[in-house]
Subunit: 329 residues, 2 copies
């Protein structure tokens, strides 16, 4: 069997996770990692795999079946997505929800013109959570959706704290509120305000001599990020932050609570949850499964931009259709 030949663009946390994920599957193979850094400064965990300057990626068009784009959604992917979609089958984790339709259109145009296949916005949200929201809503048209995130680190909120005057470093945890989750799980179909769904807990390293009371107030009153939530601020040392808060756990819950029957009296709860020790590694594993699918869809002539809504689940698996039916259906 020919292995799926994969390239990685960007060797940050997700890129490293993709490298590890490829080693977990016998049908995938890492060909090269492409970086903006000096390739000699990048040391991979996989012996024999090349590190190449990103500007030379085009030379690998015949050696790579699918590129996994591991850059960030703010500045990397809006450029790299369309650029690489015109040369390779790609998979990415573009996660700026509001900009997905525009990003989809741009990538689709580039991929269609090149007869390539791009699966965008893959991961767990957007990604698995989106799939459950879509599937559950199709099954239970009369009902309510609930998504809770956490407990986990929000990079966006951590960054926002770091921009506060007097803050040297910070980590923010998004925490779903147990009572709200339980109320949904028990079919009460509650109306929940922003404050009732999530709590924000911040671990902050202040600069020496900084006004901690002012930092705390500045965080708690920050519009959009914190003002609508109950927020807890802890001041800790840089050492404590590093030793207790440098892992990247995350997770969350998606619920659909809906009614059925002629008199719509019967209630049903669909619940999907993730508890992840490492957000980037889990995201990377999802990306590799969809990389397999992108190559297969491309071979079948299915070109353009795709999302998790468009990919038959069997395409994600290294197993044959007969094995899937026999063992997992």
């Amino acid at each position: 069997m020919n292995k799926v030949k994969i390239g990685i663009i960007g060797y940050g946390n997700i890129g490293k996770g993709v490298e590890a994920a490829i080693r977990q599957s016998s049908d995938t193979e890492l060909v090269a990692v492409f970086t903006r850094r000096n390739p000699e400064s990048v040391v991979l965990k996989t012996p024999g795999v090349k590190v190449v300057e990103i500007k030379d990626a085009e030379k690998y068009k015949n050696d790579i079946d699918v590129m996994i784009l591991c850059g960030g959604s703010a500045t990397d992917l809006p450029e790299q997505g369309p650029e690489f979609a015109a040369m390779f089958n790609i998979v990415d984790s573009f996660d700026t929800h509001a900009k997905i339709p525009e990003y989809f259109a741009t990538v689709n145009k580039a991929a269609m013109a090149a007869n390539k296949t791009s699966v965008i916005s893959v991961g767990w949200d957007p990604g698995l959570f989106s799939m459950i929201r879509m599937l559950s809503g199709a099954i239970l048209p009369e009902g309510n959706d609930y998504t809770f995130w956490g407990k986990g680190v929000s990079q966006g909120h951590s960054d926002a704290i770091r921009r506060v005057t007097g803050v040297k470093n910070a980590i923010q945890y998004t925490i779903p509120i147990d009572d709200a989750v339980e109320s949904v799980r028990n079919g009460k179909n509650p109306e929940l305000s922003t404050r009732q769904k999530h709590l924000r807990e911040c671990f902050v390293v202040a600069e020496e001599g900084a006004d901690k009371a002012k930092i705390e107030a500045d965080i708690k009153n920050m519009p959009n990020y914190f003002a609508d939530y109950d927020t807890i601020v802890h001041f800790v040392s840089e050492d404590e932050l590093k030793s207790n808060h440098s892992r990247m756990p995350h997770g969350g819950f998606v619920f659909r609570s809906g009614k059925t029957g002629i008199d719509t009296v019967n209630n049903h709860i669909i619940e999907f949850s993730l508890k992840l020790d490492s957000n980037p590694e889990f995201t990377a594993n999802v990306l590799v499964a969809y990389a397999r699918a992108a190559v297969r869809m491309n071979r079948e002539g299915c070109h353009g931009a795709k999302t998790v809504f468009d990919v038959p689940l069997s395409y994600l698996s290294a197993k044959s259709h007969a094995e899937l039916i026999k063992g997992l259906l």
Copy 2:
């Protein structure tokens, strides 16, 4: 927009659920119900819809886009599946796990010859639970699967009790054992015996003068059904059985617990669960979503037998692709 025109074969609990589910969706329409009973004895909840003898179904080939087969897996579907797959696009809930590969092959042959599309074994297990098992295994190749069922009524086990000498009527609940579920949820990757996973609770109406001690022993020692489980037997009156145990709740949990990373030290838990007030109504709602998909796949020239592994999720929804991306991704 043209509505999806649906026919129902068999007007039992699932057939009634399908009728209700069709009314919940603005893009689906019930054309007729087909029955082996005297059509005049069947009263639908939907005004104006015909009840037709099943032998006349073929006359509706041009009026129905998809037939939903609502018969049982033991005797109805093995005959009806291939028969109707040769005339209509069909969806069914064939759930005899061990016989699915054979059933798939038979239906596939009939559907391929007729250029029709058949989506088989749709529901929640097989169905949604299978999808989560497959998806989770593709994402976390190194890990363990766990499926727990219940709390819910098992028709097979209830029937087995009813065959015990001296038993007039009975209902059996399959109950997942909390400690086992918690242990999996907490990432302990336990090895669980049959007895450690589920408990069986039976509500039995004895015939007058029957030997209750013997009935209880006969149930508890029944091979395959009860001998490998801890089983609780309650004797109740027929009235009590009817008033307290005539609903059809069910549900369960699917877990994947797996490791990632270069040193595979990070653990991840994927959990999917259902809590259903009405097993047949929920199954019916899943069937109707896949009926929509069967028609669409057929229009696109995708013929033969399909399973939940083969259907892109967007095909289940009445919403447009743009709406799905904007609202749910």
